[in-house]
């Protein structure tokens, strides 16, 4: 209706018809002498606009541009950016682009990615549910053409200083990252940034790249790209432990150049990386510290403890533990970042605590019902069972708030551990949105005569739109213990639990 009204107001427009292609609407169109062969072909479920104009050329162009404006109005009201409807219209709008981010349902994503590769454009494939055979086909094609396919299911990359999808604003430097883990890349790159260093590129590969079927094609191409990059002095690899034969290929590739490398196979044996002459990252934080040390030519040491205020933190943990009531003894880690949750389980295990989870380290600790925590539990709330029909918890905190409130009602819970991932792609005020949930949970516990301790860390930098420092201060002001990394937040939580008598 708006289209009819607006088009009728254009000078030189004589007739406007807007409708579905039913026979009767076509009949009216013919009656108004507006019939064209294209309209003849329409079916009742097709939409069409027919316009009769005076001075054909000029007025018609104005009409077409008005229709474009009106039909794209809704999309524009949601975001000020132009949002092309197809890959081809995106290429038309930005003919010089050399990278495309694809986020369409998995079944269509591979076709779009192929189009891009055939045009010589690098691909970041945010989509998941892309069949593995399609992934292999795309990566082989990209390899032949000297292009990157980051993904599928790749949520994080920083290319030439531009954060893509979920990523942080990290200063430029000389550390290059290739990773098969989104939040892993975020935590490492953010800590590098917080330490005052910077990165060249952070290349995501997608979680399946190091599986035997895919063969680590992009991890290897990514390493080689960083080896050739004159600005990159230190290379960082982040991934879950790969298939054995792939591990060998990847680590051998690192030996093709003299650039030092830090390898963090999360949960894997550090000795493997060392055997190939690389430095082994023991945690995401330790990986970042080692890369920064190498970049600065400093001594490389293991960072596996609190990096500041160690004594105060240990004292605080002991004091805090005295506030818990009888029966309060468990930790509940409620994570938005999958790799961060996995790392939490790893660190707890090293401290002798097996955590139940929806992504457990041992199958016997798999939660039967992910909505019912047991003993010490660490949840990845970004997994499908929690996100069906909802955006990822880094964007939409509602599920996490629900789980926080649920855990607060459990009389055996003492500590709730949270990650706050900020940066591009994430919620603009994740701390502000979750805080009321924390306060409410604490109030609930207090009414029941219990004390609940919240421990958190913020993954991000001061350059991120949400500002790291502001987030940390807000949390601290509201009684949350804030540690500088995931690893330290887990260690502090463990200290709290182990201090309970």
């Amino acid at each position: 209706m708006i289209v009819t009204k607006e088009l009728n107001s254009i000078s030189g427009v004589k007739e406007v018809l807007v409708g579905m292609g039913t026979d009767l609407n076509k009949e009216l169109t013919g009656n108004l002498n507006l019939m064209t062969p294209e309209i003849e072909e329409l079916t009742p479920n097709d939409f069409y606009i027919a316009v009769d104009t005076e001075k054909e050329e000029m007025v018609f162009e104005e009409v077409v541009s008005k229709v474009d404006e009106l039909l794209s109005k809704k999309a524009e009201s949601q975001t000020s950016d132009y949002q092309p409807a197809t890959f081809d219209s995106a290429v038309d709008a930005l003919p010089d682009a050399n990278m495309v981010v694809i986020s369409v349902p998995g079944e269509y994503a591979a076709d779009e990615a192929k189009k891009a590769l055939n045009k010589g454009i690098h691909v970041m494939l945010f989509s998941d549910n892309v069949p593995i055979e399609k992934e292999i086909e795309l990566k082989k094609l990209a390899h032949e053409k000297g292009l990157l396919v980051m993904g599928p299911d790749c949520g994080t990359a920083i290319i030439n200083g531009v954060p893509l999808c979920f990523a942080n604003a990290v200063n430029k430097g000389d550390i290059g990252i290739v990773g098969a883990s989104g939040t892993g890349i975020q935590e490492v790159s953010s800590i590098i940034g917080k330490l005052g260093s910077g990165i060249t590129q952070a290349i995501g590969t997608g979680g399946r790249d190091l599986r035997a079927e895919v063969g680590g094609i992009m991890m290897i191409d990514g390493i080689r790209a960083l080896q050739k990059d004159p600005n990159t002095e230190v290379i960082v690899l982040i991934s879950k432990p790969p298939a054995k034969e792939i591990e060998e290929k990847v680590l051998n590739t690192l030996k093709e150049s003299d650039k030092p490398a830090v390898v963090h196979f999360i949960g894997g044996d550090p000795e493997v990386a060392k055997a190939y002459g690389a430095y082994a990252g023991l945690t995401l934080e330790d990986t970042a510290y080692k890369a920064v040390a190498l970049s600065r030519g400093e001594e490389v040491v293991d960072v596996v403890d609190f990096t500041r205020d160690k004594e105060e933190l240990e004292k605080a943990a002991k004091e805090e533990a005295t506030k818990f009531s009888q029966g309060q003894k468990y930790l509940r880690g409620l994570y938005s970042g999958g790799t961060l949750a996995y790392e939490a389980l790893q660190i707890l295990q090293e401290k002798g605590i097996d955590g139940y989870s929806n992504i457990p380290l041992k199958s016997e600790f798999k939660l039967e019902d992910v909505f019912k925590s047991k003993a010490h539990t660490v949840l990845d709330l970004g997994e499908d069972e929690f996100t069906v029909g909802k955006p990822h918890p880094m964007i939409d905190p509602s599920t996490r708030i629900d789980v926080i409130l649920k855990e607060a009602k459990d009389p055996e819970v003492a500590v709730i551990l949270l990650d706050f991932v900020i940066g591009y792609g994430a919620n603009r005020d994740i701390v502000g949105e979750i805080l009321p949930g924390i306060i409410k949970a604490r109030e609930y516990a207090e009414k029941e005569g219990r004390h609940l301790t919240f421990v958190a860390f913020v993954c991000g930098t001061n350059e991120d739109p949400q500002n790291l420092e502001k987030c940390e201060v807000t949390l601290k002001e509201n009684g949350v213990y804030v540690l500088p990394s995931n690893a330290q937040a887990v260690r502090f939580s463990e200290k709290l639990i182990s201090s309970i008598k």
Binding site: M20, T22, L24, N25, L28, G106, V388, G389, P391, S398
Partner: protein, 356 residues
């Protein structure tokens, strides 16, 4: 996860039956069309299940959803052609992009009430109809075929329309379809099955909108045929004639799939909740404000759909009144004459003639 708030018993039964026929297993459909706050899932060649934000009211063929502020169907990654799995508890995309929980949704009955506590007398009914017309003329969206209401002299007289002729502009759609609608009304009053069937082929699927305006008008017409039929305790034969043409002879195939669904429901006396509530208020309410509220809610259906439906509803009320008078006065013998046609509708028009 998105929760559904309500679901018509029609949709509920449809899903239950399809699952049962499928041996208790999930059924599969695909997304036929997606809008910001609504989408349609095609579950067979002819059946659609609509998903619609609860703000837009309940439809006989829809499930209403509790969408959080700012959430849209598109943001839920719904896309045309996407495959979905349906069972009695949920609707979800095969690829896991969205999950709609059907458990806990209120089931409501879109069909005609079996009985009424109290029906208004005829004077109140007339007063209610005037209130519906007045509110419609003040608040309606007349960019569809709605303006034809001021094109019929007997209607202007019946509903005491005074100042609105100038403010409501006739458009291509309304002037084109107006003579055909008049002929349909006349066919119904005359109880002329053959002419009803013939005229309908020139009406179904006409006009702007995903549910073309003429189809909306037919839905409104059917609402009064059903509800005033109940009020007067009359058997309205036109309903079975309309059913024969629209359903049995497949005339709905000449319109959109969404409209087809709507007409199919209307033939069976099933209407959008706001139309049902207005129809009940029309015959059972003495509260002017209640009538006004019900009209405003009905107008809000779609862009022009609500207005076109109400125009049909008021034309239907006029038709029923004439049928009633005809019955009471044994009026039928002169109805078939050309003279009577002119008396009733002001003039005769060739439905194929272009009207400027």
């Amino acid at each position: 996860m998105i929760n559904s708030t309500s679901m018509s018993s029609r949709v509920k039964n449809m899903i239950e039956q399809m699952v049962e026929v499928n041996g208790g297993k999930d059924i599969e459909g695909f997304i036929h069309s997606v809008f910001d706050y609504a989408c349609n899932i095609q579950v067979s060649d002819k059946d659609l299940i609509g998903l619609i934000s609860k703000e837009y009211g309940d439809n006989p063929y829809s499930i209403s959803l509790d969408l959080p502020p700012g959430q849209t169907m598109k943001k839920l990654n719904m896309e045309q052609g996407m495959r979905v799995i349906i069972n009695n508890k949920s609707i979800r995309s095969v690829a896991g992009h969205f999950y709609i929980n059907l458990q806990g949704a209120d089931s409501w009955e879109p069909g005609l009430p079996k009985e009424y506590n109290d029906l208004v007398d005829r004077n109140q009914l007339q007063s209610n109809l005037l209130e519906i017309m007045g509110t419609l003329l003040r608040k309606g969206n007349f960019l569809g075929i709605g303006p034809l209401i001021v094109d019929y002299p007997p209607i202007i007289k019946e509903f005491e329309i005074n100042d609105f002729e100038n403010s409501i502009k006739v458009n291509h759609y309304s002037s084109y379809i107006s003579p055909r609608i008049k002929n349909l009304l006349y066919g119904i009053i005359k109880d002329d099955q053959v002419s009803i069937e013939k005229i309908l082929t020139g009406i179904v699927g006409f006009g702007p909108g995903l549910t073309p305006s003429a189809d909306d008008l037919l839905v409104g017409l059917l609402a009064t045929l059903h509800y005033l039929g109940q009020y007067y305790k009359m058997e309205i034969k036109a309903i079975s004639y309309l059913k024969k043409s629209l359903i049995d002879q497949g005339l709905t195939n000449q319109t959109t799939i969404v409209s087809r669904q709507m007409l199919k429901a209307a033939i069976n006396g099933e209407f959008a909740r706001s139309i049902k509530e207005l129809s009940i208020a029309m015959i059972a309410s003495k509260d002017r404000k209640e009538i006004e509220r019900a009209v405003l809610a009905a107008i809000n259906l779609g862009s022009t759909s609500g207005t076109d439906t109400l125009v049909g509803l008021l034309l239907g009320a006029y038709v029923i009144k004439k049928i009633k008078i005809k019955k009471e006065e044994n009026y039928g013998s002169t109805c078939g004459s050309k003279k009577e046609h002119i008396l009733r509708f002001g003039y005769i028009n060739d439905s194929n003639k272009r009207i400027k």
